[in-house]
Symmetry: C2
Subunit: 209 residues, 2 copies
DNA sequence: TTGCGCGGAGAACGTTCGTTCTCTATGGTA
DNA sequence: TACCATAGAGAACGAACGTTCTCCGCGCAA
């Protein structure tokens, strides 16, 4: 090529790097689906190899261990979640609607085919007793959501106590929808959130007992 | 003894039955603690044998399989839960306080040493992908709780929509407390429940936007 | 064309799992 | 005392796990 500094071995290294990137992505995509659908421990590495089309040798050159793959999947899901929430919130202009957009986002998610609850909650139940790093990632993910809600509440001029209440509604909707196998919990949580928001944003005289 | 109809083999059978009962109980108690603390799949049958003091041979005469033990533990936890909720609710007289007693019950539970979330939610996350009977038991347990709340709401004269909202708050508090490792979610859920109850029981003019 | 290094497929390894079986001892019954 | 059913301890089993290794073939440099 035109660049005299780029040697043949450089070009090889670059090609390998992009190959590795796409292989990583294929492994992570397959792991995400398998782990989410059936649980981490129920999926063997050989099944992950078959689903991803990447040989075991290569998988273990790309990742240190199965647990490292689990952690990477959690990180990826975290980014997807943050992006999804952010997009849903951005679509609304009024502060109150921006808060409620969280529950509309949940409703669309619950209606997905193959929805099986929150992967973080599921992983916590399965692995928190034996995998401290997983526990840490789950905790960080949920703490991040609490912060997001707290920021939205502050922007709406609501009191700080409102934020954890709205977050708890979202968490409860996720487990309720997953276990019941229906999506109605999203609307129920949304209705409760409306009430809580309206009461919190109303003058104090209406809040007293 | 005095009863001429009681033969020697009858007496043997009776003795065996009570021995079996206490052995079953020991296995179930050990299984409950181990499965809850570390997850079902992380605990081997040999560890259950060591913790219960019952030989593997006897365990497998008392239970058909490891999964049968898991199901029995879930059934036992379900009874404990119903009894606990029932006792907490009974301690209050006013309909509103009876509803809020649910969250006080949660608060005491969250403060227990070794609290690690709801065993049903955890088991769902770990096993629902592979064990349909477990999924069924978890679903039945949560449906029972929804019914309990619905009954309390009806007794308080609240509208039917209030019940799932309060149930979702309880579910969310459980996962939030488990993952965060703190018990404050119980109080936050209780505060939200107070607001929702008060609004629902107040004349309609205050509920409109 | 001849080496050479990296690739993939999948066999193999050592563990560990859930479950069953063997062996020995023991306690009650005739 | 002799017998028999049952108990417990734990070895053994086949399967499956996560991880590593062996083998073979392809593609590039000279």
């Amino acid at each position: 090529m035109g660049d005299p500094g780029v040697t043949s071995t450089d070009r090889q290294a670059t090609a390998r790097r992009t190959d590795d990137d796409s292989a990583r992505e294929r492994v992570l995509r397959a792991a995400d689906r398998l782990f989410y659908d059936r649980g981490v421990q129920a999926v063997g590495m050989d099944e992950l190899r078959a689903a991803s089309g990447i040989s075991l040798k290569r998988i273990y050159r790309l990742f240190a261990s199965k647990e490292a793959i689990v952690e990477e999947v959690l990180r990826h899901r975290h980014e997807l979640w943050e992006a999804g929430i952010s997009a849903a919130v951005s679509a609304a202009a009024e502060p109150r609607e921006r808060l409620l957009a969280v529950y509309d986002f949940l409703a669309r998610w619950f209606d997905d085919d193959g929805f099986r609850g929150c992967f973080f909650i599921n992983s916590f139940g399965e692995l928190s007793g034996t995998a401290p790093r997983v526990t840490e990632l789950v905790r960080a993910h949920k703490a991040g959501f609490q912060e997001t809600v707290a920021r939205l509440v502050a922007e709406a001029g609501g009191p700080p106590e409102l934020a954890p209440q709205l977050a708890i509604l979202a968490e409860g909707a996720q487990t309720t929808a997953a276990i019941a196998g229906t999506s109605e919990a999203a609307g129920q949580a949304r209705a409760a959130a409306e009430t809580l928001i309206d009461v919190a944003l109303r003058p104090a005289r209406n809040r007293a007992a």
